[in-house]
């Protein structure tokens, strides 16, 4: 991790009518950092993330993602990031190779570059004999590993992960985090949202959002110390139990 800032927000706010979904959120994330973005149901995480990835215009405040402005340079933002969610990530009725080629093309890589990276990726994931099978036939754990690999296929500056590891077995989950560590080691910034506090423990720093506001932001160790808690779960419950929203 170094000091290059790749996400910078300043009083970023989103209102829907009178309802302030995200209220004056200010934070910075450095290059290669694994940043956990936590919050209770309804806290405003999804709304905030939509602004960061350039698909929702803020009501006020500023933000720069990979150096690009969230008001004026949303197309450049989209080219600089990768995105993976637990719910939708790959086309189940396309083969592994087809998914890779499709996403490589969407992100504007040349055919020769796609082919080079594709064969490297297939070898790395040890999927040589499955490469022409439909993604739908893969076990969940493999799908997630593949989805993550494809999300960083175009070597984005930042990858956004929306609840990435729900439901997989503990060993597969570790393999997934191994990949995240590796991406971070290679300088890709990882921005993760999750409900699961043990996942928060893997992050370099985490922020906890309650009712549209960032209530705390520090390393997991720092937060546990600050709130005199044994686990991130305890920290979260202390901060979020008085949340007014959630309905």
């Amino acid at each position: 991790m170094n000091n290059e800032i790749v996400i910078k927000t300043d009083k970023l706010t989103k209102k829907f009518g009178d309802f302030v979904a995200v209220s004056e959120v200010t934070f910075e994330v450095s290059k290669g950092e694994i940043f956990g973005f936590l919050g209770a149901n309804g806290a405003g995480k999804t709304t905030a993330m939509k602004m960061l990835i350039g698909i929702s215009k803020p009501s006020s405040g500023n933000a720069a993602i990979a150096g690009f402005d969230v008001y004026k340079e949303t197309e450049k933002i989209k080219r600089s990031i990768g995105y993976m969610s637990q719910k939708f990530s790959l086309y189940e009725d396309l083969a592994i190779n087809e998914n890779i080629i499709l996403f490589g093309g969407i992100y504007g890589l040349s055919d020769s570059e796609i082919e080079k990276r594709r064969s490297e990726l297939i070898a790395k994931l040890n999927l040589q004999s499955e490469a022409d099978k439909l993604v739908g036939s893969l076990p969940l754990g493999w799908k997630q590993k593949l989805a993550f690999s494809i999300a960083i296929f175009h070597t984005p500056k930042i990858v956004f992960l929306d609840e990435p590891t729900g439901g997989v077995d503990p060993i597969t989950r570790r393999q997934f985090w191994d990949m995240i560590y590796e991406a971070s080691h290679n300088g890709i910034t990882v921005f993760v949202t999750t409900h699961y506090m043990d996942e928060a423990e893997y992050c370099d720093r985490v922020s906890i959002m309650v009712d549209g506001v960032i209530k705390a932001l520090d390393s997991p160790a720092g937060l546990k110390k600050q709130f005199n808690a044994n686990s991130m779960d305890e920290v979260f419950i202390m901060l979020a139990r008085d949340a007014k929203r959630g309905e």
Binding site: N41, E182, S184, H185, A200
Partner: protein, 310 residues
């Protein structure tokens, strides 16, 4: 009499090309008044077991009973005495909170008033939104409504399939507190979760993987069966540390566990000084022996080789 009993239950699904064994010769029993947890990842067979026990699916082999009623012969009796909360939100999205509850009460020939006592402390939290359509509720609220609907006919045995998946930690905590109160009222509970930290809240658990039970016992006894010293290791560069620990000649397994990596060595009395010398390039190195958790035990039982880095 046991609340739930399964003997050698097997269930396979056939697709065009192959046969998948979803539940593989599973046997366990849940005593009356117990909270029994089925702990395992997606695809381990949890939902099939729930569907067999709630008479919604026929097993290929084996017998199962709920409070002495056979799941095949006595399916009608079972449906009257069980409450079932499926993993997927299965209430009517375009009925209101109140209408959903009313509907389920009517189906079981009862009324909300008759059993209100059982759901009162959950329902008070829903009451402000009782005119809201169920589809418009948050995850935590949907889950509370689903539990109320599963309880409205005062079941003796409650089946909860991944009730806390996708729910935030505050709601999860409240949910488990509700389960304890239901247990205190004599309701037996079979609950599944992919989250190992919830295992500790059950009286007994079964760890399940690929349709097979790995182990059944109290959470404490399961953890106690971890037969090696476990070390938590951290340093400034966790990625390099993981690679170095896995490359160490005496490493049996090493997994990332958030702030620390969990390490098992292949010796009875490991020489930590040797390990420290090996890791001397790491700054801020910390090595502590720790107590294992359910997840550590689960991973050892899975007996997979050390994963290679991608």
């Amino acid at each position: 009499m046991n609340a739930i009993e399964l003997n050698n239950i097997t269930k396979t699904y056939r697709t065009k090309k192959n046969v998948v064994t979803a539940v593989d010769d599973v046997s366990f029993s849940v005593t009356e008044g117990e909270i029994f947890g089925l702990i395992g990842p997606d695809g381990s067979g949890k939902t099939s077991i729930f569907r067999i026990l709630t008479t919604l699916l026929l097993a290929d082999k084996g017998i199962a009973a709920v409070l002495g009623n056979d799941v095949v012969k006595d399916w009608k009796a079972i449906r009257d005495i069980v409450g079932y909360m499926p993993g997927r939100f299965s209430l009517y999205q375009d009925l209101t909170v109140e209408e959903n509850l009313e509907f389920f009460a009517t189906i079981f020939n009862t009324t909300i008033q008759a059993n209100y006592e059982l759901i009162s402390d959950i329902y008070v939290q829903l009451e402000p939104f009782k005119k809201r359509r169920a589809g418009k509720l948050s995850g935590g609220m949907k889950q509370k409504l689903a539990l109320c609907c599963a309880l409205i006919h005062k079941p003796k045995v409650l089946f909860l399939d991944e009730p806390t998946t996708g729910v935030d930690p505050v709601s999860r905590k409240e949910f488990w507190e509700m389960l304890k109160r239901l247990k205190a009222q004599g309701i037996s509970i079979l609950v599944s979760t992919p989250y190992m930290d919830e295992a500790n809240l059950c009286d007994r658990i079964a760890l399940i993987q690929s349709g097979k039970i790995l182990e059944i016992d109290t959470p404490q006894k399961i953890v106690n069966r971890f037969d090696k010293n476990l070390y938590a290791v951290k340093s400034k560069s966790m990625f390099n540390l993981l690679n170095d620990l896995r490359a160490y000649s005496k490493t049996e397994s090493c997994f990332a566990f958030g702030q620390y990596h969990h390490l098992v060595l292949n010796e009875e009395q490991p020489d930590l000084n040797e390990l420290k010398t090996y890791l001397q390039n790491h700054s801020e190195l910390e090595i502590n022996q720790i107590k294992p958790g359910i997840e550590d035990r689960f991973m050892r039982l899975m007996k997979k080789p050390i994963p290679t880095l991608p």
